[in-house]
Symmetry: D2
Subunit: 142 residues, 4 copies
Amino acid sequence: MNQSTSEKIIHRLLNNDPFSQWLGIEVLSVHKGKVKLAMEVREEMLNGFRIAHGAIPYALADTTLAFASNSRNKLSMTLTNNISYLRKIESGDRLVAESEEVSLQDNYGVYLINIDRQDQIRLAVFRGTVYRSKHHVDERLP
Amino acid sequence: MNQSTSEKIIHRLLNNDPFSQWLGIEVLSVHKGKVKLAMEVREEMLNGFRIAHGAIPYALADTTLAFASNSRNKLSMTLTNNISYLRKIESGDRLVAESEEVSLQDNYGVYLINIDRQDQIRLAVFRGTVYRSKHHVDERLP
Amino acid sequence: MNQSTSEKIIHRLLNNDPFSQWLGIEVLSVHKGKVKLAMEVREEMLNGFRIAHGAIPYALADTTLAFASNSRNKLSMTLTNNISYLRKIESGDRLVAESEEVSLQDNYGVYLINIDRQDQIRLAVFRGTVYRSKHHVDERLP
Amino acid sequence: MNQSTSEKIIHRLLNNDPFSQWLGIEVLSVHKGKVKLAMEVREEMLNGFRIAHGAIPYALADTTLAFASNSRNKLSMTLTNNISYLRKIESGDRLVAESEEVSLQDNYGVYLINIDRQDQIRLAVFRGTVYRSKHHVDERLP
């Protein structure tokens, strides 16, 4: 498996993922176990206080987790995630998410994901735990 | 403050919340500190594996947290959340979220939220921690 | 495997666990996937503010998680835990922890654990995720 | 308030904290909002599988959180923590914990804490959320 296998998997995952498309997620970089994604917050992503709904940065982080963990072509599913919100996020903000693989075992992995604003201000921090199955990702994609 | 104040706040929050509207969130019941919400999973909410994106049940839980914690008319903001995924969620599934207020202090609160399917199967469990400010919610809504 | 197998495992786990012994953990009940434990907070378990160190209720919950998940005789190891503190805990308080198995899959499990005071006041809530290996617990114990 | 105020607070906290003393915690460095602590794992800290009980690295992280957040002389109490375990920890391992203050608001703070082994291998990652009260720490210490 080489770099372009990871890239092919990520692009097939995104092409088949209508919710990540609705979010407007762009792929900035892909390495085995590490991806960098971005998106822009739109008016329809706000909550009743006119700031981004908490699920918006979470969604970007969760897609980042799925892409990073599946980029090794071993089908990976999220068991549990946590997120801390550090600052308000507004319409028009560009969010950049980057993953770090802090543990990779045969059967599970742990990833840290930071969400930053375009001006490098940290907006949220996230940690996800995935189960890594015996299946290849590319067998399971349409 | 009485029951109908909580209901008015929740309805103003939802009416001003375009993302919760996109999700199709319905209010099933409102009590001070306790709400029950529902939504149906649509095709556009799926991920690349053709199951609900992890952010969809999270979004329902996060809206439930916001509504439950703000229902006491004290402006509350989420500090940190965690979620565990128990089963796959599919297009067409109806999700029901219900909150329990396990701690209510002057300055913060802790809420457990369960996400169940229409047939009472538990799909996800969530815990959120909010900061409770000195402001009234109804001063801050448009 | 029957009830007494679970009980034997729990007693061998506790007999070989010097830290749980230091805590003074007592086994109140054992069922497959569900245990109830108790302990009393001593002066040497306090922190600089003269309340129980946060690691004390955490330790009781983590032992409860280990006992509950290993009680099915499938070697289980903790991946990640979270805890929320609801009230101060003082020297002399008797803590009771009880587990609920919210997900049991071939390869992992999710457990909720509540920590209550002797007078039924809830002190902390905890959620743990374990990896379930292919090994039997009783092969791995001294 | 200067550096030596932080140092005085940390030393008074540790001197009054019997459980951190039982753990054998040493203070490696103290800055406002940032501390580095260490300890060595002893036989009496093991669990039934003869590895460190999960509460041991948690306890070191929780003390690190308490010291880092209180080092600014604003009384801070933990609301919720999470930890992921990356590797087994054995008797004789020396653990080093270092904090990063990712959010500092008037009323709350968020801290990341890494636990590493003496040879720089990462053993666990932890995130804590504290409530920051209006009180000074030094008013509350014996």
